[in-house]
Amino acid sequence: MSSRFRASLALLAVATLALAACDREERHSRAKPMGETVPAGTSPDTIWPGGTVPQTLDPRAKLYDNNAPAISQGQSLYSQMNCGGCHSHGGGGMGPALMDDEWRYGGRIDQIATSIAEGRPNGMPSWRSKLTEDQIWQLAAYVRSMSGQPSKDAVNSRADAMSATAPQTLTPRETVQTSDTAEQ
């Protein structure tokens, strides 16, 4: 074998290995496992007194956070469920802004999912009986993308509708902080 042939063979092997790494996240059309819902009233508390150890992240988070199909489904649910009626395109209105760094009830995906499922004081309704757990997590994944949390290869490079805001791939990543640490 000539050295040149060996070199091309090695290159081919590396290219094949690199191809195996092109593993897009799995698209799942329904929640896995099915029927995994948190009974009303016992969902994990997402606010804890300052200084204590935060709860461990819900294991379902890795199915949705940073997941392109989930973010995309969440984006269409965001307009279909009229979230924009209060939160606008993330800039906030009657409801708080979702694209800034401030999170009254926590900015982790499981905390956002809980806020959507349970509702919050001063106007946020509970979506538990209107959306499935799967849809709530998809929405939470999209809400996190509004402040640039997921990686740029997971978010949409264009919005579903005409919009004056920059594409999500250009959204700057905000540092997540809760209200008491954010500057008032």
């Binding site: 059309s29 329904r30 269409s76 009986s129 209107k130 959306l131 499935t132 579903d160």
Partner: protein, 322 residues
């Protein structure tokens, strides 16, 4: 009612498709004549070249001399080509004008909005109380030019009812339209003709061409609100549908469910199909409500995971929506 030419471009069930077929026949005949003539000239040319080669025309220096018969033949051929092309242009122009003319005389306006993967159908009327919203099913009166405005909520779809008219794309952000003048009472099938995602194949449409009195009867029926549930089971279903997940997307006239994300369910059980793909039946309704994601994976309707008693109640209620 006849279901002949259920889905056939030779169904000739509307003025538009008849014009297309006439145009098609004209093109076929003209092009066939041209083709036969070209082949005939080719064969003649080959035979002639053989004879000319035997006569040593080139060596004798006579190759520049034109043959009078050949010259006449070429001029005639040019005239035939010119006439053929002009005939095609005129036929095409006439068909196009006549279709535009029908569009100018619309008697009924319907807005069809494409969604992944179903058709939202709205009958427009100047009087709001006469507007009808349905899904995956069009009812058209025979002999009346109907203008169908086409919109899309997500990606590009294409409206195609082969027995009635040609294709027209539904493009997000742009309004297109197509005019159909049905000429034969019957049931025809349409389909999305532009690949629009995973469930493109399950995006069908039923067009029911009725006599005018039948159409008016249908419209009057569609204007009615949903009946109140009478049995305890249907009442439980009503309560679930109007207060839980279903009402987040679906509307049922006369109930608190009034969302516009999904298909209108007011007269669901009176439609011929379910979920733009299956025949309407109790079994299919059970299957669809229980687990839409295994029937049409990727559809926007989520698998909710209803408890068996909830499933029975919801289906019992949906079946009352005649």
């Amino acid at each position: 009612m006849s279901i002949q030419h259920y889905q056939s471009i030779f169904g000739n069930a509307a003025t538009e498709v008849r014009q297309f077929n006439t145009l098609f026949v004209i093109f076929l005949v003209v092009c066939a004549v041209m083709y036969v003539a070209v082949i005939a000239f080719l064969i003649a040319g080959i035979a002639r070249r053989r004879r000319a080669a035997e006569a040593n025309t080139v060596e004798e220096g006579r190759h520049h001399e034109s043959d009078p018969a050949m010259r006449t033949g070429l001029i005639a051929w040019g005239a035939v080509v010119g006439t053929g092309l002009v005939a095609l242009a005129i036929a095409s122009f006439v068909a196009d004008r006549s279709m535009a003319n029908a569009a100018a005389h619309e008697k009924l306006s319907i807005t069809v909005t494409g969604n992944q993967w179903w058709w939202d159908v709205q009958y427009n009327a100047a009087d709001n109380s006469k507007m009808v919203r349905t899904a995956n099913e069009l009812h058209l009166p025979v002999g009346v030019p109907v203008r169908i405005m086409l919109k899309s909520n997500d990606v590009i779809h294409s409206f195609w009812v082969p027995s009635l008219a040609g294709k027209q794309d539904l493009i997000p952000g742009r309004d297109t339209d197509i005019t159909i003048t049905p000429q034969k009472v019957g049931i025809y099938r349409g389909q999305c003709a532009e690949y629009c995602g995973a469930e493109h194949a399950k995006m069908a449409l039923v067009v029911d061409v009725d006599s005018y009195p039948d159409f008016i009867k249908w419209w009057q029926h569609q204007l009615q609100t949903a009946p109140k549930p009478t049995t305890p089971l249907a009442l439980a279903g009503y309560n679930y549908v109007t207060s839980r997940n279903c009402s987040a997307c679906h509307a049922i006239a006369g109930t608190p469910a009034s969302a516009t994300v999904g298909p209108d369910l007011t007269h669901l059980a009176s439609r011929r199909t379910l979920a733009a793909s299956m025949p309407m039946s109790e079994g299919n309704l059970y299957g669809w409500v229980a687990d839409p994601q295994s029937i049409k994976p990727g559809t926007k309707m989520p698998t909710i995971g209803l408890e068996p008693n909830e499933l029975h109640a919801v289906v019992a209620y949906l079946e009352t929506l005649k």
